[in-house]
């Protein structure tokens, strides 16, 4: 048994987190920063943070993730990080030549109270920032919120530092992308183009974290929203935020700064969330939904209907980020499955409210968010009542093996399976991919474990 010490018996924990369902802010900021073309994320703190965050993102995406660090030593921790950051900025522009440096803080620089506005102003004053280049920042103390918060803060910082409102409004919808895979962003952009809408997505990791192999390494691959496009987002006529936790702040800032109204939706995972996205885009872009999209939807319904007996009543445990879990849980319910145990380390009211609503007809369901809403707790629940399926990041594989439960990988980080670059989980096509993954997990499990006389060719 890999998790041999996990027992069904719970104690009331007040302080100890075991097997967290979250990580810390800066990794989210680092990820989001890669969605601007020519952007180098910079970690302002000791170099371990940068190393850990790069490693975590690289293991997940299997793609280059570069970021620089202020490399604090004990001296900088006492005297402040000003000189480290100013000299870092000089070195970065000399050697790595980015268009923009996106600085995020760490718990170290936050605790000593580095004033980022002042430090960056000093770098500009000292002529360390070449003309036309930019240095932006966001605060990402690791002891507040989670990696989800860090992502949100970085996206909001794009708006704060880069979006510009001019008198010339444009017939463009901003798509503010929450934490999802590049393939998911690509699928959303595809849907928007099928609908013939003019949109700008930010951050946009397509082409950055799913870049082709060409024999030439590009530190700044072709993808990502350009600084010029990012500036014009302030002139768009509307913003659709995809993911309450990761994009609402950016949308609010955009409205306050540039008077662009907005609506925040769930990430379009599953049938209903995609329906809401398509409806919203159609309404705000003032375009009808083309038949091609209705057809995609119909294919998804067909797939689900044909296989509904495999989904019906199955108990599922889920962990991950609220922006993923809310639409995912809703989708599972629409498959007539029973999401019974759901944890996210990210605290927040929206998750709790949505879960209560989505799960109102599943009285046995338990969900928890915030501190000590961890995978240990979820595993204890599983020990008590059992589940038929696990959906979450790679850390679930230990539970899956111990409990012999089918397991679908989804979320961050997935470090042991490829494919997320190619196959989206958003939109109707993504929902079909997800439904098929679930089916395959069930049917493979059945084939592997059923008695020989029950082994069947046609399922």
């Amino acid at each position: 048994m890999l998790l041999r010490h996990t027992t069904a018996k719970e104690i009331d924990r007040q302080a100890l987190t075991i097997n967290p369902a979250k990580t810390c802010q800066p990794v989210g900021a680092m990820y989001a920063a890669l969605g601007i073309h020519g952007c180098l994320p910079h970690s302002h703190g000791s170099q371990g943070c940068c190393s850990y965050h790069r490693s975590a993102l690289t293991r997940h995406f299997k793609e280059p993730v570069v970021a620089s660090t202020s490399s604090f030593s004990e001296g900088s921790s006492v005297f402040g990080g000003l000189s480290n950051l100013v000299s870092a900025i000089e070195t970065i522009f000399s050697v790595y030549d980015p268009e923009v440096v996106a600085v995020h803080t760490t718990c170290l620089s936050e605790t000593i109270g580095d004033d980022m506005t002042q430090i960056i102003a000093k770098a500009y004053e000292d002529g360390k920032v070449p003309d036309g280049k930019k240095v932006i920042y966001c605060n990402t103390p690791s002891y507040v919120g989670t990696h989800v918060t860090g992502y949100s803060n970085q996206v909001a910082a794009f708006v704060k530092h880069l979006a510009v409102a001019t008198p010339k409004k444009r017939n463009v919808i901003n798509l503010v992308a929450g934490w999802m895979e590049p393939a998911d962003m690509k699928e959303i952009k595809r849907l928007a183009s099928v609908m013939e809408t003019r949109t700008l997505m930010f951050p946009d990791m397509t082409g950055v974290l799913d870049a082709p192999m060409t024999g030439t390494y590009e530190m700044y691959p072709k993808g990502g929203i350009t600084l010029a496009d990012m500036a014009t987002t302030g002139d768009s006529k509307f913003s659709i935020g995809l993911g309450k936790y990761t994009t609402e702040d950016a949308c609010v800032k955009m409205e306050n700064k540039c008077k662009v109204p907005f609506e925040v939706l769930d990430i379009p995972i599953g049938l209903k969330a995609t329906d809401r996205f398509i409806t919203s885009l159609s309404r705000h872009a003032n375009v009808p939904v083309p038949d091609a999209i209705t057809e995609e939807r119909g294919k998804l319904i067909d797939l689900i209907a044909d296989n509904s007996k495999y989904f019906y009543g199955k108990r599922v445990a889920l962990w991950g980020d609220p922006d993923t879990l809310v639409p995912l849980t809703e989708f599972l319910v629409s498959l007539d499955m029973k999401p019974v145990y759901i944890v996210t380390g990210t605290p927040g009211k929206y998750f709790d409210e949505q879960m209560a609503e989505i799960l109102k007809d599943i009285p046995e369901a338990k969900f928890k968010s915030g501190e000590r809403a961890d995978m240990f707790q979820m595993h204890q629940w599983i020990k008590q009542e059992g589940v038929d399926l696990l959906i979450g990041n790679t850390y679930g594989k230990y539970i899956a093996r111990d409990e012999n439960v089918p397991f679908v990988r989804l979320g961050f980080p997935v470090t042991d399976r490829p494919g997320f670059n190619f196959f989206p989980f958003t939109g109707y096509t993504g929902a079909a991919n997800l439904a098929i993954k679930i089916l395959e997990a069930f049917l493979d499990h059945k084939d592997r474990t059923c008695p020989e006389e029950k082994f069947e060719l046609v399922l």
């Binding site: 890999l2 998790l3 041999r4 010490h5 104690i11 302080a15 100890l16 987190t17 075991i18 097997n19 979250k22 990580t23 810390c24 800066p26 910079h42 703190g45 000791s46 170099q47 371990g48 943070c49 190393s51 850990y52 790069r54 490693s55 690289t58 293991r59 793609e63 280059p64 993730v65 570069v66 970021a67 620089s68 660090t69 202020s70 490399s71 004990e74 900088s76 950051l85 000299s87 900025i89 000089e90 070195t91 000399s94 790595y96 718990c107 170290l108 605790t111 103390p141 690791s142 002891y143 507040v144 989670t146 192999m213 060409t214 024999g215 030439t216 390494y217 380390g345 501190e371 000590r372």
Partner: protein, 549 residues
């Protein structure tokens, strides 16, 4: 040797131009600093390298932090200690199962906490009001849930800044729970200490010595020759292979620091008669302290590469001086080498004449060159991520190393002869005779001695320098870690991760050598690299003609 490199198409003069090209792009101050960390090697004179100094801010570095070295590297592989990270959630999360430390409890009931991540998950209120009470409560809860024999606490950056005293908390909690029931100890391994993970190793070593080593005098095991292996972390099962080899020779491995380790193996380590240091950088401190306190001599060994493994076994036999052991060792080597040699020759046909570059760790960049040599491959350039000068130039330079402010922050503990248990394993004369015979006690030659003349040695390689190296010299295989892997591969050069072995291994010992040969042959023979360009990118497409007009 110079000629050999030239024959492979690499001119020594050209290698020198690398440095000029790279330094010209840095700001002046940075260039001056990097100038001392990039050397053209000469194994005869061994030039002085700059190492173990702060990374330039803004540099994209391979390095990690002190916490990563202490909790992640040294204490991470122990299976029956509950390791609680005191800090915000990130540090604990990132060091959770990511280093491939394998472990194998003897029974289903035995403790194994390796798969768990324990953290106090500090929130802003803990930063403002202090986190000691939360830590105490976390320890209570860990004890109530798991009843472990020991709990270790690891400090992260903010803990040091706000002044939480993990050592005091450890003392209090040991009293509260009962000293007879549990051992609790803390590590001040905040990420900002030192200049890399190396500082964390030192701190971990001190903690191991103060809190675990030497607490259990019972002599266990049935085999006559008793040794410890230090600096072996059981990545991908290395320690399992070495345990197998030692057992086959009749050598009792009392403890491995810290691959596949337990509290008991640490506490009992001082009953061994010889310490062997594998990763010198991470653990030489423990070897030194054990020699002073208990009289256990230490030698540097290198069980990476079949030839080096054989050399290690012969050294052990020589040390114990027993003919029976010497014969047994020769028998084992002969037996193991049959399969090794067959595998080597099979791979050699594909790998001979190829080139490699290694930028890993504080010993791996050195050790793996033996394996590449066995495959007929030349290492064109190598360097350490967190090595010190002695790792490059040899232990003899230690007295000349200047201690700077960053190293001075790391606690030095003074060790004395243990009043009751100090027991010299050999007389002075015996030691001198063995030493004269090539045992090289407490000696370590360093990487530069082994590397060819004219090759490049680079400390704390930056991403930019890495790109330039590959651009100029396009090696057949580049060895580094996960952060570098996909950058290098996008350039069309395969990267072999030597921290995680690309999720293969083991690579230590004899079976490990076979695995390595197979894996490098695989890299040499993978054909997809030839398909990077689409056909229409390299040749003109023939204009089509309709068959019927």
């Amino acid at each position: 040797m110079e000629k050999e490199i030239k024959d492979k198409g690499f001119n020594v003069e050209e290698l020198k131009t690398f440095k000029e090209k790279v330094l010209s792009k840095y700001p002046k101050k940075v260039a001056r600093k990097r100038d001392k960390a990039i050397l053209v090697n000469d194994p005869d004179t061994i030039p002085e390298i700059q190492a173990n100094v702060r990374t330039v801010p803004g540099s994209i570095t391979q390095r990690g932090c002190t916490y990563a070295g202490c909790k992640g590297v040294v204490l991470g592989p122990t299976r029956d200690i509950i390791n609680i990270t005191h800090g915000p959630i990130g540090c604990g999360f990132y060091s959770w199962l990511t280093r491939r430390n394998q472990t194998k409890p003897m029974t289903e009931q035995e403790e194994n906490f390796i798969t768990y991540c324990f953290s106090t998950d500090m929130q802003d209120s803990n930063i403002v009001f202090g986190g000691e009470e939360k830590l105490k409560q976390a320890i209570r809860e860990a004890y109530e849930l798991f009843h472990p024999k020991a709990i270790a606490i690891f400090s992260t950056c903010p803990v040091g800044l706000i002044g939480d005293d993990v050592h005091r908390v450890a003392r209090h909690m040991k009293e509260e729970i009962g000293e007879d029931k549990i051992n609790i100890f803390g590590f001040s391994c905040e990420g900002y200490r030192g200049v890399s993970q190396s500082a964390g190793h030192h701190i971990a070593n001190n903690g191991l010595f103060k809190n675990l080593i030497g607490r259990d005098d019972e002599v266990r095991g049935s085999l006559k020759y008793r040794v410890n292996l230090l600096g072996e972390y059981n990545i991908g099962g290395d320690a399992f292979e070495l345990e197998r080899v030692f057992e086959k020779c009749g050598i009792n491995l009392i403890s491995t620091f810290s691959g596949n380790s337990t509290i008991q193996s640490f506490e009992n380590a001082h009953t061994a008669d010889l310490n062997m240091v594998m990763c010198h950088r991470s653990i030489n401190y423990v070897a030194e302290m054990m020699e002073t306190a208990f009289g256990i001599p230490w030698i540097k060994v290198q069980p990476i590469g079949a030839g080096s493994t054989a050399k290690m076994l012969r050294k052990i036999a020589e040390y114990f001086g027993d003919q029976e052991l010497k014969d047994k060792v020769e028998e084992v080597i002969a037996d193991e080498m049959v399969e090794v040699e067959a595998a080597r020759l099979k791979a050699l046909a594909k790998t001979k004449g190829k080139t490699a570059m290694l930028f890993v760790g504080g010993s791996r960049a050195h050790h793996y060159q033996d394996l590449f040599e066995e495959l007929g491959m030349t290492t064109l350039s190598a360097g350490y991520e967190f090595g010190h000068r002695d790792d490059y130039e040899g232990r003899r330079v230690i007295p000349t190393i200047k201690i700077d402010a960053d190293s001075r922050n790391i606690e030095e503990i003074t060790v004395d002869k243990d009043p009751t248990r100090y027991n010299p394993r050999k007389t002075e004369e015996e030691l001198a005779a063995l030493d004269a015979n090539g045992m090289d006690f407490t000696e370590y030659e360093g990487m530069m001695k082994q590397m060819q003349k004219g090759t490049l040695v680079i400390d704390d390689l930056s991403h930019y320098e890495m790109e330039k190296l590959i651009e100029l010299y396009k090696p057949d295989v580049f060895c580094a870690g996960i952060k570098e892997k996909y950058c290098v591969q996008k350039m069309g050069v395969p990267l072999k991760q030597l921290h995680s072995y690309d999720y293969g291994g083991p690579y230590a010992g004899f079976k490990g050598a076979i695995n390595f040969y197979t894996d490098i042959e695989m890299i040499a023979c993978t054909t997809i690299w030839k398909e990077v360009k689409a056909p229409w990118e390299s040749e003109a497409i023939v204009e089509a003609e309709y068959m019927y007009n």
